[in-house]
Symmetry: C2
């Protein structure tokens, strides 16, 4: 018998319905909050994890968020998706963190989805995640990414295997809904888009 | 000499470039964060105020936000706009708060913009703000509002004098950009929409 949708598993047996959003001071708050909220509506277990062991986290436009936990608490946890919001200062901290790089490489091996929006693909590239794959980003950071990725200009969300990338705050709903589609299914994503009154998801 | 745009004042002389977002436990996090971020990008001085003197605030999908201040700190402050995000539990607390009702009535007299999204117009109606004006809301709460407002079904953001209303998370960018337009100007709203990659604002 085929498993019910809410028991969907990855090929390696890990639970797909969980995601971690990693962020540090200077993260783009809308790109933290929109994916968290949309995925939680799809009953994905979302953890907001501070990159640094310091709380709370002050986002780029001043929003102060208390994370659910910190990077150090994640070591042995498996996630269906690792999500990186944009925000220059936060992405810089991610790019410079050796520990975060190791975490990303481990998750890539475990076949988690790795998703980055806005300037966050810079942090992935810094840790050599997804080299040569199709990807997009906030348009202003394209010059720093086009030698590393097969850069896509004209799509709001790009999926290449387990790598998901998107452009910025205005595409954050579509980015989050694509993750619902991948972690759950298209029908659930459509229902959530309708409830949220997001009318450009199809 | 005409005042420079950044010195734009209301007819009663108060500074227009400030806004307060009032929210309580159960607020819709995207409807708190999108207006805050978008308005701050327009250099509007945005204050996130907790309705209750208890911190931090836990939003409806679990996001924990540390407010900038609390209702009790706002008494003698003037704001260009008062913004109410949705979220049933938060809106219920607002509807039941006599102090919040007095605050709204005072701000209505001072000719602040009063802006509510999703189910938040219910809290305005509970305090008799804007009776008879054109307004919209999250579609599911229309039956509770149509005898109080001149209900508009088919617009994402409705402006009637100093009352601004909008439908839900998927219309939150347009709601926030309309507030930029009103507190600053249309050109600034257009520039921010472009920077955010919001392509349905015009």
């Amino acid at each position: 018998m085929a498993p019910a949708n809410n028991e969907k598993k990855a090929s390696n047996g890990k639970e797909l319905k969980s995601a971690v959003i990693v962020f540090a001071n200077g993260a783009e708050e809308m790109e933290v909050v929109i994916p968290a909220d949309v995925l939680r509506r799809a009953k994905v277990d979302v953890v907001l994890a501070g990159l640094c062991d310091k709380k709370p986290v002050k986002c780029t436009k001043g929003l102060v968020i208390v994370p659910d936990c910190y990077m150090k608490d994640l070591e042995n946890r498996k996630f269906g998706a690792i999500i990186l919001p944009g925000g220059q200062e936060s992405n810089q901290a991610m790019a410079e963190s050796e520990k975060f790089g190791e975490f990303l490489k481990k998750k890539e091996k475990e076949e988690s989805y790795i998703a980055a929006i806005c300037s966050a693909p810079l942090a992935l590239a810094a840790h050599c995640i997804g080299k040569g794959k199709c990807a997009t980003s906030y348009p202003a950071v394209k010059p720093q990414l086009e030698s590393f990725y097969n850069y896509v200009d004209d799509e709001k969300v790009v999926v290449d295997g387990k790598l998901i990338t998107s452009q910025g705050p205005g595409t954050a709903f579509l980015f989050a809904l694509k993750l619902v589609e991948l972690l759950k299914d298209k029908q659930e994503a459509k229902e959530i888009a309708k409830l949220l009154l997001v009318d450009d998801y199809c």
